[in-house]
């Protein structure tokens, strides 16, 4: 993505002009454009013109429209972005307030105006405009009868094709049908590889399977390529990596990304790093469960004690329409960064991001163990609700002291004071727990 113009007042509201250059930029734009923003871009609209005689003709005209964003949808297979909204500015062809659907196109610049450009959005813009490119990897995972062809980029895992064949089993004296079935299966996979994989962009092609199918396939593919004189396969044959996976389903991708062979070849792939961190979190859940927690309230509580070392959060949470919730997440991220922790944004298009979003989308690895943090959560649901209301009040500068409760300062910048308050907070909760 290219940043063409930046116009921000006091770093908060303003507009940015961006030009998407590749497919991944659509994904970044999806994460940037939120409901309530205004978007200005060149688009095509059907215009109805009625002549005096009554005949109406519809023509499609290209024009620049500004719309107030109502819905944003992303098609992962085609990497296309559709934005629906009402027009804000008057045009000679279009009335104000009429609905329009915008399809963002590559190499067509758009201007995005937001009321509030928070740190997450700015990070996203930086990520998108970063010219340094990391490895693009294609992967084919298979087992007998099933194969999945995927493309793994920095932020996306694009599933290209799923191939499924019923292959007859070997039977007493009749192995021919099995062999023939395997050959047909391999042929389909080779066709898929040629169709979906652009060898000029791809750094490596991983073929993974349990057992010996990958070797069988690789041999067959090379033989077929020499027979049919398929240049692309023959020239790029050393880009092919043969790895072991336990099955041919999509989630086997996570296994192969952790293989040391892969890590050697493609160091610092974001997907691999994310997977490593998630794996670390899982192991901690097993070995030291008091240092690993998931769920928003629990993580926020842990954050109050400045306990968070790594915060794992998916970008799906930031696409949330609910403004207050999004603010909560942003504040959590900011406070973790300020207290010296690391925030890892997981792309929800990667397998690791999907996994994390099953777990509510937010998880934390703590610096020191904090026992029974979620037990509080179970018993004190309404208690948590109340404290958040208080937090909102504080933000709005509406401090009305509740004589029965000490004031909680959720501002973590002031160390001494916050420590004291945190201690009293915990003591109070514990007292209430015993009363419960």
């Amino acid at each position: 993505m290219r940043l063409i113009k930046k116009n921000l007042d006091r770093g908060l509201s303003g507009e940015l002009r961006l030009e998407p250059e590749e497919q991944e930029d659509m994904w970044h734009a999806y994460n940037l454009i939120a409901v309530g923003d205004s978007l200005r871009a060149s688009t095509v609209r059907k215009v109805v013109q009625t002549t005096d005689t009554g005949t109406s003709t519809t023509t499609r005209k290209r024009m620049t429209l500004t719309i107030d964003v109502k819905t944003v949808s992303y098609d992962s297979a085609a990497c296309a972005l559709r934005i629906k909204g009402c027009t804000i500015e008057e045009n000679e062809y279009v009335k104000k307030g009429s609905y329009h659907t915008l399809d963002l196109e590559l190499h067509n610049a758009f201007t995005l105006h937001k009321h509030e450009w928070d740190s997450i959005a700015m990070d996203r813009v930086e990520m998108a405009c970063n010219p340094a490119h990391q490895a693009d990897v294609a992967a084919v995972v298979m087992h007998e009868g099933l194969a999945n062809v995927c493309l793994i980029t920095e932020h996306l895992t694009i599933h290209r094709q799923k191939i499924e064949h019923t292959i007859p089993r070997k039977r007493k004296g009749l192995c021919a049908q099995h062999d023939r079935g395997m050959e047909k299966f391999f042929d389909t996979i080779i066709a898929a590889i040629i169709k979906h994989i652009d060898f000029s962009l791809i750094k490596a092609v991983i073929i993974a399977s349990p057992g010996f199918i990958k070797d069988q396939f690789f041999q067959y593919m090379l033989n077929k390529a020499t027979r049919d004189d398929e240049r692309r396969l023959l020239e790029n044959r050393n880009k092919f990596l043969l790895l072991h996976s336990s099955n041919g389903f999509k989630h086997a991708l996570t296994e192969i990304l952790q293989d040391p062979l892969v890590l050697n070849r493609l160091s610092d792939t974001k997907a691999a790093e994310e997977m490593k961190l998630l794996d670390q979190f899982m192991r901690l859940l097993n070995d030291e469960p008091e240092k690993a927690y998931y769920g928003l309230e629990v993580v926020e509580k842990a954050n109050q004690s400045q306990a968070i070392e790594y915060l794992l959060i998916t970008d799906e949470l930031f696409r949330n329409i609910d403004f207050t919730k999004r603010r909560r997440f942003v504040q959590l991220v900011d406070s973790v960064k300020e207290s010296g922790g690391t925030v890892r944004l997981f792309s929800s298009m990667h397998a690791s991001g999907e996994r994390l979003s099953q777990l509510t989308g937010i998880a934390a690895i703590l610096r020191f163990p904090m026992p029974d943090l979620d037990l509080f959560d179970e018993h004190h649901h309404h208690h948590a609700e109340v404290t958040n209301e208080e937090q909102d009040e504080l933000e709005n500068d509406n401090l009305s002291h509740n004589p029965n409760r000490p004031v909680h300062h959720f501002d973590n910048t002031d160390d001494d004071q916050s420590m004291d308050n945190n201690r009293t907070f915990k003591e109070n909760s514990r007292a209430e727990a015993s009363a419960w």
Binding site: P168, K170, C175, P210, N247, M282, S357, D374
Partner: protein
């Protein structure tokens, strides 16, 4: 409560692992009456409206118990009343149907209808019991060689074929694999010297007809092994007795443990442990007893009962102690005749492998339940008419005859069964427990997948995408949290699944509720979970049909959990 007549066949009392899986019969009745879920009409639009909705568990179960010595059982199959229901007369109209749905179907009494075919069935069995046997063990333990040699000795494989195998083996430079080539027939398997997929054969002993399934031992091929073990009633666990080899197979990475656990979870309760390659250690008695001790220490807590496990020293390569006892080196094993029937820690002195197979107790076959046939292989056979497809698999319950109509689930195609083949010979009927090949007509080939079920059109099998199940978790390194992906192994198919919700955590030994909505399920625990599958599968509740209610969950090459289906949600 009626006193149940003594049942022959599978022992009805179990402990440990099975207590959690075994539903109490009273529970069954209470639960099934409380939650009568009629088969949804919307799924079966193509079927005539008179679809029965009687749940299987409410029917009288009249399974056929295995062969008595006299032939007089042909006319009156023995009735084993279950669930406290007295043996009422056959008329089905007296049975309860769930309120609101009355079936106008004239139900033909199953027993009377099949007497002719049952007679054929009994003739086919020739007074022997049918048994499905699976051979498992760590890679290179000698499973294929052992079984190949046994087949040669029993004259199932003739000399010419054996000679061909020997020359082929010599050509590939793998002389010691010549017996294994009886079962490993594809190019890949022979050149690499590993069994990759299950191989099937049949042989007859004095009292049994055995359907043999040779399973691969390699870690990557465990899905195929699960397929083979799911069809089996009993198992042979082969271990390599050489120094160091046994230990490798037996420690945590090896397959000896994993296979034994998998077999148990799939319902196999009787096991013969064949301690193989004894000729290389000169039939040492000490080593044999050491292995027996280690194995029994592991098998007992895994859920195998002492009475159901036997041990035998054999040599697959030389063929000793397979059929005939081998006197000089095995004199310590072949004690005098007076003690030949006593078992000491599962070692029956003087028994050869075939003797032990004869002693196994065949299970009861649910012949009176509605017809269910799980497809494990699909192909077009030569010599059959156009438009027919051959499907191979095992009949889980019920029976089928030629020219009968059936329905394919989940696609609901109506098919006709053109012919039935067992071991390449045409038969007119087949019953539960048989491994058959059906030639069917009337199916759309794009609807046919491995894992589909051909069933009785009046009692179609339910299909599910979201199920609730009770699982036992094995020794895993990462605890189970909501959203954990896993591979769902069921019969001959594997499908991607996700563990959506953790409903309860249960105590592993007693089955009591420990915690509701747990945050995670640690290793070696037990719990109730909800699973979402990526594709519809055909399955039954474990309480209705045991064979169609068991599954395994695996991930990254390791077995995570074994489970039973307790509820079908959608």
């Amino acid at each position: 409560e009626d006193v149940l007549p003594p049942t022959r066949g599978r022992l009805t009392s179990r402990d440990e692992l099975d207590t959690q899986f075994d539903m109490d019969t009273e529970d069954d009745k209470a639960r099934s009456k409380a939650a009568a879920i009629p088969i949804r009409q919307s799924d079966l639009d193509t079927l005539p409206s008179r679809v029965a909705t009687l749940k299987i568990s409410e029917r009288i179960d009249r399974s056929i118990s295995p062969q008595k010595k006299s032939k007089s059982t042909i006319d009156s199959p023995s009735v084993t009343p279950r669930q406290g229901v007295s043996p009422a007369p056959v008329s089905r109209r007296s049975e309860n149907t769930p309120s609101g749905v009355t079936s106008t179907l004239k139900r033909r009494p199953i027993a009377a209808d099949r007497t002719n075919t049952l007679r054929d069935y009994n003739e086919r069995l020739e007074g022997r019991d049918l048994l499905n046997l699976v051979v498992v063990g760590h890679v290179d333990a000698g499973k294929s060689t052992l079984m190949g040699h046994l087949l040669v000795k029993l004259k199932v494989v003739d000399d010419r074929a054996m000679h061909r195998n020997r020359t082929e083996a010599a050509r590939l430079g793998k002389d010691s694999f010549s017996f294994a080539f009886v079962l490993d027939e594809s190019e890949e398997e022979r050149s690499r010297g590993v069994t990759m997929d299950i191989a099937q054969a049949q042989f007859k002993t004095k009292t049994k007809i055995v359907n043999l399934v040779d399973a691969p031992g390699h870690k990557d091929f465990i899905p195929n092994m699960i397929n083979g073990a799911a069809q089996a009633d009993v198992g042979i666990l082969v271990v390599d007795s050489r120094r160091g080899e046994f230990e490798t197979g037996f420690e945590y990475g090896g397959q000896t443990r994993e296979h034994a656990l998998l077999l148990r979870s799939l319902g196999v309760s009787q096991l013969i442990c064949a301690v193989n390659k004894m000729d290389t250690i000169e039939w040492s008695q000490d080593r044999f007893e050491e292995i027996v001790k280690k194995l029994s220490a592991f098998l007992k807590p895994s859920g195998y009962k002492d009475a159901d496990v036997t041990y035998v020293p054999v040599s697959g390569w030389t063929g000793e102690n397979l059929i005939t006892p081998n006197n000089p080196p095995l004199s310590w094993y072949n004690k005098d005749e007076s003690t030949s029937n006593t078992t000491v820690n599962g070692v029956i002195h003087g028994a050869t492998l075939v003797d032990l197979i004869d002693r196994l107790k065949p299970p009861e076959r649910p012949i009176s339940k509605p017809f269910r046939f799980c497809i494990s292989d699909i192909y077009r056979a030569t010599g059959v008419g156009a438009g027919t497809v051959s499907i191979a698999g095992r009949i889980e319950c019920g029976g089928v005859e030629v020219n009968e109509r059936a329905i394919l689930r989940p696609s609901n195609d109506q098919v006709t069964i053109k012919s039935i083949q067992i071991e390449n010979t045409n038969v007119t009927s087949a019953f539960a427990g048989d491994n058959v090949t059906l030639n069917i007509q009337g199916v759309d080939p794009t609807h046919l997948f491995i894992g589909n079920v051909v069933c009785d059109p009046e009692y179609p099998i339910p299909c599910a995408t979201v199920i609730q199940a009770r699982i036992i978790i094995f020794n895993i390194s990462v605890p189970i949290i909501p959203g954990t992906p896993a591979v769902f192994h069921f019969k001959s198919m594997q499908e991607q699944a996700k563990i959506m919700t953790l409903v309860e955590e249960l105590d592993r030994l007693t089955g009591e509720l420990k915690r509701r909505n747990p945050r995670l399920l640690p290793k070696n625990s037990s719990g109730v979970i909800e699973l979402v599958l990526h594709r519809q599968i055909c399955c039954e509740l474990y309480s209705d049909v045991k064979e169609l209610g068991r599954f395994m969950l695996r991930q990254s090459g390791l077995t995570m959990a074994a489970g039973i289906i307790t509820r079908i949600i959608t």
